[in-house]
């Protein structure tokens, strides 16, 4: 016996409809520390108009945001702040690492700059560029929307995937499992001297 479905009823999965709601209302938290922040502002302004993709509600409180956009270099004094803000954001949450400095440290290969935020917090999308153009950031948001639609679950089970718990490729290449625990400082004569 075929079940009669009226025209005003739509059948779907709860995951799919939750993802559809989430991906079109990303509320970014702008963690802008450098020139990438200017491009981030340009992306939010009228010409590039991030509102076309439903991500225009910039919140300066992590409690009200679900997408952290780290735009600019992160010095060692700021890294504890960044981690604290990330932990203060509610699930589900995502992170975009915008620009060369946030992703890898960029040209700032010095004692004071963290060589990529992905070493210490999870990152979903990397945006290359120095700084990236607003179009690139918009593309990152579109890619993130696709990612949310593809793998999102209502209960956030996709965040527990073992592949997502691994340290970033840069740290694996250095032969480090990625600490918890502090790295012992090498004695000065063995440290690389440039």
């Amino acid at each position: 016996m075929a079940l009669e479905v009226p025209d005003n009823v739509l059948l779907t999965k709860l995951d799919a409809i939750a993802n559809w709601c989430r991906k079109y209302s990303l509320w970014p938290m702008p963690f802008a520390t450098a020139c990438c922040g200017i491009e981030l502002m340009a992306t939010g302004a009228s010409r590039n108009d991030i509102a076309r993709f439903g991500a225009e509600v910039f919140r300066f409180s992590p409690r009200q945001a679900d997408l952290m956009i780290v735009a600019g270099r992160v010095p060692i004094k700021l890294m504890p702040v960044l981690q604290r803000i990330w932990l203060q954001m509610h699930e589900p949450k995502w992170c975009i690492s915008m620009g060369a400095c946030a992703s890898t440290g960029g040209v700032f290969d010095t004692y004071a700059v963290v060589q990529g935020i992905d070493r210490f917090i999870p990152v979903d999308i990397y945006v290359p560029g120095c700084p990236p153009r607003p179009e690139q950031l918009i593309q990152a948001i579109v890619d993130l929307q696709e990612k949310i639609q593809r793998e999102g679950t209502v209960m956030g089970r996709e965040f527990e995937h073992p592949e997502r718990q691994k340290p970033p490729l840069a740290m694996r290449a250095e032969g480090r499992a990625g600490p918890p625990g502090l790295i012992a400082a090498p004695p000065p004569e063995e440290a690389p001297y440039f």
């Binding site: 060692i76 004094k77 890294m79 504890p80 981690q83 990330w86 932990l87 949450k93 290969d109 010095t110 004692y111 004071a112 700059v113 963290v114 060589q115 070493r119 210490f120 917090i121 999870p122 965040f159 527990e160 995937h161 997502r164 718990q165 340290p167 990625g178 600490p179 918890p180 502090l182 790295i183 012992a184 400082a185 090498p186 000065p188 440290a191 690389p192 001297y193 440039f194």
Partner: protein, 166 residues
């Protein structure tokens, strides 16, 4: 009065100072124990009412022999006459202490904190000698020449937040 004339006049009270002139800029080298009275005389008698900068140079492995490893530099300005004067003093390890000049210029407070942070030179009598740029738990003085550019691993010294636990 010309800056060089001021310094020549001060040479009666401070016979140990050495001064030179390069392209109209007068530089004076003072020994550490005469530094504070010399700066005080410049401020109170000759109107150098603004301390533009305090900075330091690490002459470790410098090809030219210097009287000490660290050259401490005070840049003074007379805002009435627009005269500028650079006063330097040399320090050697392990005795890296100079008297603070905060009683003369309030601006010295943060400038001396910066020199302490970057070079590890202590300022005796400073009201609040803390680090100003680096984090408080930082132990090195990064602008010293024997500190490697990429640090001693401080930039990797953070807990890692994994996706599942955040």
């Amino acid at each position: 009065m010309d800056v060089s004339a001021i310094v020549e006049g001060l040479q009666r009270d401070f016979p140990s100072i050495v001064w030179s002139e390069f392209r109209g800029q007068v530089r004076v080298v003072v020994s550490r124990d005469r530094l504070f009275p010399f700066l005080q005389a410049l401020k109170e008698r000759h109107g150098f009412d603004m301390l533009a900068d305090i900075t330091c140079v690490d002459y470790l492995d410098y090809p030219v022999k210097k009287p000490g490893r660290f050259g401490l530099v005070y840049v003074l300005t007379n805002t009435q006459t627009n005269q500028r004067l650079v006063v330097r003093t040399f320090l050697d390890e392990p005795d890296l202490v100079v008297p603070t000049v905060t009683p003369l210029w309030e601006a010295a407070n943060w400038l001396e904190r910066e020199v302490w942070d970057m070079f590890g030179i202590r300022f005796a009598g400073h009201p609040d000698l803390r680090r100003i740029l680096m984090p408080e738990d930082f132990v090195s003085h990064p602008l010293r020449k024997d500190y490697p550019l990429q640090g001693l691993g401080e930039r990797n010294n953070f807990p890692v937040i994994r996706r599942a636990e955040s």
